[in-house]
């Protein structure tokens, strides 16, 4: 027996970039997050070769979950070819050997910034959401020590109060994306800034969602089949974005979340935000099998 047989050959970085101790910590914190749905778990959050705020939290989770058999999809604003999405997907694949895909149905891990794909996710898929600010109480309490106590006490009165006052002032709730939601009846989360359109997709879903904020060093999770209820008043219905009636000018799809593109001379045109769904629909118009899976929304109505 020699020293060489006892050790691995030297490499500049570990498999999947992160070293084993970092991955072990992340695995433990992910398990904790799954065990207490919606509760923010602090983690060390290592530096990665990417600037903070650019998906480093999601990246650390993906790097920990990925193996050579993984199939990785990364989207930014719904698009696989967004510059940062492409850069993250390339990096994950190069350090882990995981395959890359644009197709939601083929992916085993989907890392996303600001969107949940329109096709229904399955039991064997993990959604990793990049989170800039994990604290739903930030606007009512900027001190994180106090905010932590408020979570411990389930003290969400001030958060409800801001919603009450929005209705008083504007006649409706003005919260745009990152609409606060109560997970498993206990912890309020900010569901990363996904649009209101996407929040219902977290409720009682088959897939596991892990939300990770690298800069703020917090991880939280929505396990499969867990209640996720947006904070709403019993007599004021939850409003998703009014996109049900819009049609994508490229693919002809309608009833999905759209990007609005301002036009010269006024007016707007729309493109479906889930870019690969758009590609599949275009394929259909060209007479090929589209391969579109079941979608959470049908005819613009949430129906999953």
């Amino acid at each position: 027996m020699s020293l060489a047989t006892l050790t691995k050959p030297w490499a500049a970085t570990s498999y999947g970039f992160l070293d084993a101790s970092a991955k072990r910590e992340l695995r433990r914190k992910m398990l904790k997050a799954v065990a207490v749905p919606g509760c923010q778990m602090p983690y060390a959050s290592r530096e990665v070769p990417m600037a903070r705020g650019w998906g480093t939290g999601g990246l650390q989770v993906t790097l920990t979950l990925a193996n050579p058999g993984s199939v990785i999809k990364v989207i930014d604003q719904g698009a696989d070819d967004g510059v940062n999405a492409a850069s993250i997907r390339r990096f994950v694949s190069s350090v882990s050997g995981a395959a890359q895909t644009w197709d939601t149905l083929d992916a085993s891990i989907i890392q996303s910034r600001h969107r949940i794909p329109e096709e229904i996710l399955r039991e064997n898929q993990v959604l990793v959401l990049q989170v800039p600010d994990p604290e739903p109480l930030r606007d009512v309490e900027s001190n994180i020590s106090i905010a932590r106590q408020m979570h411990a006490d389930a003290d969400y009165g001030k958060l409800w109060l801001t919603l009450y006052e929005q209705i008083v002032r504007k006649g409706r709730i003005m919260q745009g994306a990152s609409y606060p939601a109560l997970v498993n009846g206990r912890h309020v989360i900010t569901p990363s800034p996904i649009p209101r359109w996407d929040v219902p997709k977290l409720h009682m879903s088959k897939h596991l969602t892990i939300l990770s904020a690298g800069r703020e060093k917090r991880i939280f999770a929505v396990p499969p089949f867990t209640r996720v209820e947006p904070l709403v008043f019993s007599d004021r219905p939850y409003l998703v974005e009014d996109h049900a009636g819009l049609t994508c000018q490229r693919s002809g799809l309608s009833g999905f979340f759209m990007n609005e593109l301002p036009m010269d001379g006024g007016g707007s045109r729309f493109e479906v935000s889930d870019s690969n769904l758009g590609i599949k629909a275009i394929r259909r118009t060209e007479g090929e099998p589209d391969g579109i899976g079941d979608t959470w929304y049908r005819n613009g109505e949430y129906s999953a």
């Binding site: 006490d153 389930a154 009165g157 109060l161 009450y164 006052e165 008083v168 008043f233 019993s234 007599d235």
Partner: protein, 272 residues
């Protein structure tokens, strides 16, 4: 002095004592460093009565009120509230969450300093609604109407119900605090120098409102003040505190007309 105290206690005539007390505190003691703020204080408050606690600053009266509001815990002492459908237990044994919920549902408080009781940059109606939200109300219309009713009962001008307390006068701020305190029809309303610092005329109006509310709703109140005039206007029964201990208590008329303890005599005569 101990003799005098015990005789004063015996003469605290039990006008309302037919009922069991709503609030019972026994053996309340608390030291802050070298200062003994409370020395084995016993208190009972009966349904529908107003108990006035009077004493100079440092007498322990505000400490006692903070304990009643579960903001602080004593070194020793037992505190019980008789509440519908709640097990009888020492409230200081409750955990943080239970305390917070109990406070939200069953105890109202008006502080001398409105900054302690109000979110100054939220709407007045919202301040009242927050209390209801914490207690679990989720209908916007119900929140709105209950806030309106509570503000109206506190004689707050409804045209300004969505103004922020920071924009309101001191008297109006106290009315918002009061509306917030009574919105859930609390079993106990605590008033900590509620009119101190207000103009005399405003003070009289706020006291009128408090008296009317007390008359109409039979709210059980504990009023802490250094001002004998305020206590005399409001209280059925009076407790005089000094150096963390109760030196005299009894029916308000009795204590004011025939004070037994030299300290009370001094207080009453200074006032007159």
């Amino acid at each position: 002095m101990s003799l005098e105290t015990s005789s004063a206690l015996q003469r605290a005539a039990p006008r309302l004592m037919a009922d069991a007390p709503v609030l019972t505190m026994a053996g309340m003691s608390r030291a802050y460093g070298a200062v003994q703020a409370l020395r084995a204080v016993d208190v009972s408050v009966y349904p529908g009565e107003v108990l006035g606690i009077v004493g100079e600053s440092g007498s322990g009266k505000s400490t006692l009120l903070r304990m009643m509001n579960l903001e602080d815990t004593p070194d020793n002492g037992d505190y019980r509230l008789r509440l519908p459908a709640r097990a009888d237990r020492n409230l200081f044994e409750l955990d943080r969450y239970e305390r917070r919920m109990l406070r939200a549902r069953h105890i109202g408080i008006v502080y001398q300093n409105p900054h302690l009781g109000l979110l100054m940059h939220h709407s007045s109606s919202g301040n009242v609604a927050e209390r209801l939200l914490v207690a679990g109300e989720r209908s916007f219309e119900v929140l709105r109407s209950k806030a309106r009713v509570a503000l109206d009962a506190s004689e707050f001008p409804l045209a300004r119900m969505d103004a922020r307390p920071i924009e309101l006068s001191g008297g109006m701020q106290q009315r918002v605090q009061l509306a917030k305190a009574i919105a859930l029809e609390p079993s106990l309303l605590l008033l900590d120098e509620p009119t101190t610092g207000l103009d005399v005329s405003v003070q009289a109006l706020v006291l009128d409102t408090l008296k009317r509310l007390q008359r109409e709703r039979r709210i059980t109140m504990v009023l802490v003040s250094h001002d004998l005039g305020v206590i005399r206007t409001m209280a059925d029964r009076v407790m005089v505190m000094r150096h963390g201990a109760v030196v005299e208590q009894g029916l308000a008329d009795q204590v004011f007309q025939d004070p037994q303890h030299p300290y009370t005599q001094q207080l009453v005569h200074a006032k007159l």
